[in-house]
Chain length 340, copies 2
């Protein structure tokens, strides 16, 4: 007896043409001035988004992105069979309070900044398995709620080292279905937790890069593909330093990865002085939903490998001297026909 | 086009005979003296479990429960296609650091005390969809790490109100497969987030009861079953007060629920003075793995409805005046043949 969709140690095929039929974004003010300027659906005027706290703002971001994605799919919330979402806040309250009003069957996730890929992986398998027709998948992060929780009070104005990334204020949501049109989710490589002993929470890129490398290598081995089979390989979000590390690793192993980039490098302009680039669950969510999916729809890209990367530590685990366990989940998004 | 396994608004069938082929538990000292005395696999000598901190102890609990479950299934860790787990700690570090050494493809979840049912729901659907042959599903909680994070420093010795429950120190893990023997996961009802405005985090039973009620009602409607079709309906973990509320709701709606109990009432002895009973992700995990699955195997129970309940708030959301959003996921576990 074997699994009909499993094609390698960590990789499965999605065989029933599961499509990304819509996507939507909510973006913060700094993100609106970055490289993706003009490509977001809902624009925040400030970090509060009409709410009293940053945390409530983050919940509203998920809620509004979700409603917008569902509307763009020509659906109503009652059409959604299951939603998959998570975020970085303690007890994932960005998600819990965000999803509360939507009244859709809901599975909560925690994958730190890998959540966009994590939610789409599960959402696609669940449809392919015949358990849902429409799944809503997404995540959020907020610069202010993250800084407050993970780092320093914002008002303190602490200096950040050059390796630090800036948490993106944004939410991205997609609707998946085996009905309708859009780029397809065709393969998924589920990551293992990798920890190479990096302990500096201001250097997440270095902590997560080995997880990205592990999942990339596994994906190419499982699928018998090479990097150049994709128009773009994109991790998210390792930032400048993590990107360099992945490049080094891959090149040393003989891979040509001239078509590789990282979402942390694709959201802010250099002039915006975010140090090593963007981070947070919202980073890869915004890059995917505001840019990559649109390029896939227009045919500017035909097939991409989207690799969400997450660092699974907490401030407490850092205080207790622990290193940073990381994970990366890979999703193939393609305009090509599904190979059975 | 419709979903082949969806049978109602929130309910799906697992049609390929997915079995719980093994389970394992790690239990704390107080739990060892409770109603499930003598039925745990791994016994902790104290809250530290050989580690330096309670949080590291909790990670070890998950790791040891996982290894034990895999061993009892006659497998090795490399046989596990995917693991699904989560916990209550900030950024789910009990899970992240627990799973790190296992080196299995891993999906992180956050469902608070609903996590056992949540992990089994996803683990079963993923096997049924042909994406995995063996999934590892489970969770943990630890009285000390929870008190410290959610409530008061333990040394402070704060008084707890009668409505408060005691977080269970324990981890439960199951291995699911379409191969092998054991009770089957046959149906799943995915919960929606329900929030009736309860704001008291020392009264989680009252906060979660409406979510349990909503999922129970939906399950009976979706499946056209009645409570008496099950040998046991068990929620986890509402405690004494939440149990009473669900009884009231169900009786008012005309359901005979004489076969209903709650995991929060099934773990500690009255004499152990835990007020409203047990709570925490580990509560329903221990009751399921140490007691219910064994009764199913022996034929003392033939079919049960296992309903994990979780409260999705954080200390911060409480401080910000928010009420407690809750969720309940229902899993049918049965010795009967699967109805196609």
């Amino acid at each position: 007896m074997k699994c009909k969709n499993k094609i390698g140690a960590q990789t499965v095929n999605i065989s029933n043409s599961v499509k990304i039929i819509s996507s939507a974004t909510v973006a913060g003010t700094k993100e609106q001035q970055g490289k993706l300027k003009g490509s977001f659906d809902i624009l925040m005027d400030d970090g509060y988004f009409g709410e009293k706290t940053w945390e409530k703002a983050e919940s509203k971001m998920q809620r509004e992105a979700a409603k917008c994605a569902v509307q763009k799919a020509g659906l109503s919330l009652t059409d959604i069979d299951m939603a998959f979402s998570g975020d970085l806040l303690n007890q994932c309250t960005g998600t819990g309070y965000g999803m509360r009003e939507l009244q859709v069957p809901f599975y909560g996730l925690f994958g730190a900044c890998s959540t966009m890929a994590l939610s789409m992986s599960l959402g696609a398998m669940i449809i392919d398995g015949g358990f849902a027709k429409y799944t809503l998948c997404g995540t959020s992060s907020h610069f202010c709620s993250s800084e407050k929780q993970f780092r320093m009070p914002l008002a303190y104005g602490g200096q950040r080292p050059p390796t630090a990334q800036r948490t993106v204020t944004g939410s991205g949501m997609v609707v998946l279905s085996d009905d309708g049109n859009g780029p397809k989710v065709t393969q998924i490589t589920t990551g293992k937790i990798i920890d190479k002993g990096i302990k500096d929470p201001a250097n997440m890129g270095a902590a997560m890069a080995p997880a990205a490398f592990d999942t990339l290598k596994t994906h190419f081995k499982d699928t018998n593909k090479k990097p150049q089979d994709y128009d773009l390989i994109v991790t998210g979000d390792l930032g400048e330093l993590g990107y360099e590390i992945v490049c080094d690793y891959m090149e040393k192993d003989g891979y040509d990865i001239s078509n590789y980039n990282d979402c942390g490098r694709m959201i802010f302009e250099k002039s915006q002085d975010t140090h090593a680039g963007g981070s947070g669950c919202g980073c890869s969510a915004l890059v995917l939903c505001a840019s990559l999916l649109k390029k896939l729809k227009k045919g500017e890209l035909n097939e991409i490998l989207f690799v969400g990367t997450g660092a699974l530590m907490s401030p407490l685990s850092t205080q207790q001297g622990e290193s940073i366990p990381s994970i990366a989940h890979a999703v193939v998004i393609s305009n090509k026909e599904v190979t059975k």
